[in-house]
Structures are given as structure tokens and as C-alpha cells.
Symmetry: C2
Subunit: 332 residues, 2 copies
């Protein structure tokens, strides 16, 4: 029997879907058959994979016959509607949406952090929120060493976090302003060109956005740390790709900056870029198209006794979404 | 005797100098004679003020004869060199640089917060750092009500904070990228177009930048709160004008979000723009060219028991520099 899988990608034509195909190619994922699925609008399009053209089919309840593994990245609504059909057909679903993340039956996995949770799956494994993944990639090695208790963080989130349309909106606005044209707003409630917007996703009763609460809610589940608290401000910035997060964390044990650099650098999937004297720290451009999250600006915090502040950057289309999903698939 | 002053502006042709002239005009400041000073490079240029053209003169040690009031905004080096000459000539100096801010003999004043400190001057009054002013405009009303203890903040700082050259650099890079040209870097160590840079000013031994330490150092002096601690990450973003700051603060007394909105809105120079349900919060574009700092996203913090998080935006060329200096001059 072959080790090769019949793999389906639902939402194949989106920014994350296309990046998933790139990751599957690069990592030489053992695929026997590949089914690309999208809405009827995109059906018939052809995407190239390993040198051949694969035709995109319309996603329907019957799309998953014979599929071993289905990667979903088409939004929560689609996941809720079609993931059960995939599971019923015998596939394991890796879902990039927020639909099932907080479901007790569904493991929420960052392969470098809690790979063992994959074993608890009942057909669906959830891929965490992009800003949460990137922050935890820097935080987890510190948690393992010092024991994290609290996080206060502010994000600098790229427009590709809103999919291809976010990129189109920023490009269009920059062009319109340069040419004295009218600024069109479809994706964001305010102009994003030459501006920052302190809102990502919808507001909740407590004054936080859904995006902001994910760091605490998903962080607790991924780190197995039910008392972990996180207070976050999520901000959209006019950057095309890669999210940055300014993180302040308090720990149970005394901290040490040199040791912090060592444990982060020793961890998989994350790299230290931190030499203030030499002006070395990561920016979004440094992380773009890379697999690793990058950490710099590591310093003793001035407010918390056992506190560290740091700056972490990651390509949220890759590690924040597509790559993490493919890594989960590899664990299966 | 006339109430009108002989006023000098040193650094008149810079971004802040020009904004100072605008503020003096708008606020109908009682000026009998106006002397505009700059480097020899800019001497001879003419700037318009109240309908007439005023010729810029070269700044020399003798420039201050007969001057009552000198507004300096030409960098620390120039202030250190020439402010003593101005004081010797009998002028009171309002200095926008960091040269004298932490000097015990020099009051550091935000007119809405500590106007009484002006009386302690011995010839020089310092204008605080722009990010510190904007943050304190939102924080001080909360401090008065609840008693601030600690602040953790992340900034989103516009390129005009680096003067006119910062604007030129961002514009040039955006054009170069759109036209496939080469990105030139003169002001910032990394590309700022479509990127963010977690460094403003030079690094200190403790891993923080000078800019980041100003919030604690200057904040203690302005608020008369010697135990106030602040842990800050300052980040340059591709915005032309107005700084934003995501602030988390812990207080001595229990906090209340509605009361927080009330006390901020009742304070001078600051306005609440905060209705998450209606998607209302300030962005840099909302604050630009305005006198008021704008506060939104006020919510109970999830980490500190008596904590509040909020988002404050202000035009750093105006309230962060020129306007605040003119307001100090008005107090004299």
C-alpha cells in the first residue's frame, strides 16, 4: 500500500489556499491525488502543482469521496457547512478558520508547541489564529523556561491577513492618493493607506475585538495553561505581508535576557535576530516568504518583576496559516 | 507699555518651526516683533506670517538682542549651544529638544497637566517628547481620578516625527517601489514603505531606545509621580502624520470604563471618540491638523486588576511639539 494520500484543499484559490499548495510542493508532501475545491465562481480555474495544471472543482457535500486529508481555508461558514461532510466521508480535516478552534473535541495545534494534541482528534484539527501562532512561537520557549503568567501585546497586522482583497485595497488606495483619485473602502472601515486602524474583526461586549481575545482563549488551549491571561490591542497597519507583535510577558520564575535568547534560538521554527548595539532586529520585510518567526528587542521589562518584553514577526500567510496547516497534516 | 512680545523662532524652516508659526497665527499670539532664525543654509528664505513675508536670519549668538521669548526647535545640539545666549540676552526659552528636559532647574510642561511648573523656570522651559505628551493627554485625567502606577505602551509613530525628511523618505520609497526603482534609505535604517521599524532613536544599555525611556523619565517629572513606571515599545509606521499609542495602565484605585470616558472627555485638549458598537475610534487621519488628542478603545484591562487599556492619537507636529510650545509661551 502506498504512503501517498488523497489530499483536498477547500478554498484553493484564496491567498492561504495558494500558499498551502506552495508549502505542499516545497515540503514534498506525499500526495497521490490532489483535489482542489472552491466556490462555483472559481470552479474551472487551473492551478499549477508540481508542474501540472489541476482544475479547481466546485465545493459540494460530495467533494470528499476517497479523500484522506482535507485542508480547509475558506472561512468559518464554509468550514461549518462542509467539514462534517469531509469527516463523514472518512477524511481528517485541518481547518484554518475559527469555526472549531474552541470546541473541546477539536485539538488546536501549533506543531512546534503541542504536536501531541493531534492524537486527540475526532476528525477535525484546528489551525490557530495567525497573530496567536506568531506570538506563541516567540513566547512558548520562554514559557517552557520561566512559566508564563500574563501577556500584554499590541499587534501590527498586515493587510494580507484580510486575504487577497486586503492587498488590492491598500494598493488601490496608495495609487488613488498618488493620483488625486478617490479612496475606495471595501474591506476596511477606514482608509488603511498612510493610516493605522485599531480594529481587526468585530467588537465583543467587553470592548475587545474577537481577534484580540483569541490570544488568551487559544493561548490557554495551546499552552495547556488555563490561567494564562492576555490583554491585546490588534491594529491593522499598511504593510502587505507579515504580522509583528510587541509583547510584554510576566513569568513565575526570575528571567534572564541572555537565557531568553538561548532558549528561543534553540526552539524549532523561530530565530533570534537581536543585537541592539548593531541595530539588528526583525521587520515584516525580513519575515516575508520565510518559514521561521523572528524575535528581537528582547529586554527586561520595567513594569513586571519577572518580566520580559520582545518583538516577534512572522509571515502570517505561511506560519500564521498555510505552513502551520501543512505541518499539522505532516503530523498525521 | 504694550503687551506684545518680541518673539524669536529658532529652527523656523523645519516642520515644527513652520507649524509653530501656524499656531501663533491661529491663536492670535500677541507678537510685536518676530525674528525667524535658522542655519546659514536657510537664511534669506522668506516665510509668510500674518500676511507679510518675514526673512529668515542666520542663527548666531547675537540673534537674541531684545527678544522676550524664544521658541527653539532645531535639535538638541543647537539648543545646547544657543539657548544660553538667548537666556543671557534676557529671553525666556521654550525648548522643543530633549537637551534640558531632565535638568532639575528646567520645568517640563504640558499646559493642560502641570501649568504651575512654569513658575519654576530660570530662563528655560522644556517641551516634552511628542509620544509622551500624546500618551499623557489621555492618561492624566485617569491618573487624577484613579492614580496611575504603571504603564505598558506600544507606539505607532508617523514619519513626520523625523521632520520633513521623514516624509520625503516615505514618499520617495513608495514611488520607487511602484515604479520598480531603487529604494533609498537615508533617514531610517530599514525600508519604511510597506514596513514597520521597531526602533525610534538610539539604543541604550538596557535594550530600550532613548525614545522608549522618555515615557517613564519625562512622565515622572510631568505627573509629579516619582514611582511611575513605564515599559514602552516605540515603532515607526508608514503614516505621514499623527502618532498613535496603545496604552495599558494599572491604577491604585478601582477603575470604571464609563467614569474613564467621562473624566477624559471633561479634560481640556483631549476628546473621547469611543463607541465600539458603532465602530467609532480614532485613527491618525482623524487627529491630523487638529489641536485635540483623541482617545478610544477604552476598556477594562484583562491582566491588571485595576487596569484600563486605551488607544490615544495626536498630531505630533502640533500637540506633540509646536502647539504645546506655543501654549507654554501663552502661560508666560
Amino acid at each position: 500500500m502506498s504512503n501517498e494520500k488523497h489530499l483536498a484543499v477547500a478554498g484553493a484559490t484564496g491567498a492561504v489556499g495558494i500558499e498551502m499548495l506552495k508549502c505542499l510542493e516545497e515540503r514534498n508532501f506525499p500526495i497521490g491525488e490532489l483535489t482542489l475545491l472552491a466556490s462555483s465562481r472559481s470552479a474551472g480555474r487551473k492551478l499549477s502543482f508540481r508542474g501540472s495544471e489541476v482544475e479547481v472543482q466546485e465545493l459540494t457535500p460530495d467533494s470528499f469521496r476517497g479523500v484522506d486529508l482535507a485542508l480547509f481555508s475558506a472561512g468559518s461558514g464554509i468550514s461549518r457547512e462542509f467539514a462534517p461532510h469531509a469527516v463523514e466521508a472518512g477524511a481528517v480535516v485541518v481547518d484554518n478558520s475559527s469555526a472549531f478552534r474552541m470546541d473541546d473535541e477539536v485539538p488546536l495545534v501549533v506543531p512546534e508547541i503541542n504536536p501531541e494534541d493531534v492524537a486527540l482528534q475526532h476528525g477535525v484539527i484546528a489551525n490557530p489564529n495567525c497573530t496567536t501562532i506568531i506570538t506563541l512561537m516567540g513566547l512558548q520557549p520562554l514559557h517552557a523556561e520561566f512559566g508564563v503568567e500574563q501577556v500584554i501585546a499590541s499587534s501590527y497586522q498586515a493587510v494580507s491577513g484580510s486575504g487577497a482583497q486586503g492587498i488590492v485595497e491598500l494598493e488601490g488606495q496608495i495609487k488613488a492618493i498618488a493620483g488625486d483619485g478617490e479612496v475606495e473602502k471595501k474591506i476596511y472601515p477606514h482608509q488603511i493607506a498612510h493610516n493605522v486602524i485599531p480594529q481587526v474583526d468585530a467588537f465583543l461586549e467587553n470592548g475587545y475585538t474577537k481577534e484580540e481575545m483569541k490570544m488568551q482563549n487559544e493561548g490557554r488551549k495551546i499552552l495547556h495553561a488555563p490561567d494564562f491571561t492576555a490583554s491585546v490591542t490588534c491594529v491593522r497597519v499598511p504593510v502587505y505581508r507579515s504580522h509583528s507583535v510587541a509583547v510584554t510577558a510576566s513569568f513565575r520564575k526570575p528571567v534572564d535576557v541572555e537565557r531568553a535568547r538561548e532558549v528561543i534560538d534553540a526552539a524549532p521554527g523561530v530565530r533570534v535576530m537581536d543585537d541592539p548595539a548593531a541595530g539588528l532586529y526583525p521587520t515584516p520585510l525580513d519575515a516575508t516568504d520565510g518559514d521561521d518567526c523572528l524575535v528581537g528587542r528582547i529586554r527586561k521589562d520595567l513594569v513586571f518583576e519577572n518580566g520580559l518584553s520582545f518583538w516577534v514577526v512572522g509571515d502570517q500567510v505561511r506560519k500564521g496559516a498555510a505552513l502551520n496547516a501543512v505541518q499539522i497534516a505532516e503530523l498525521l
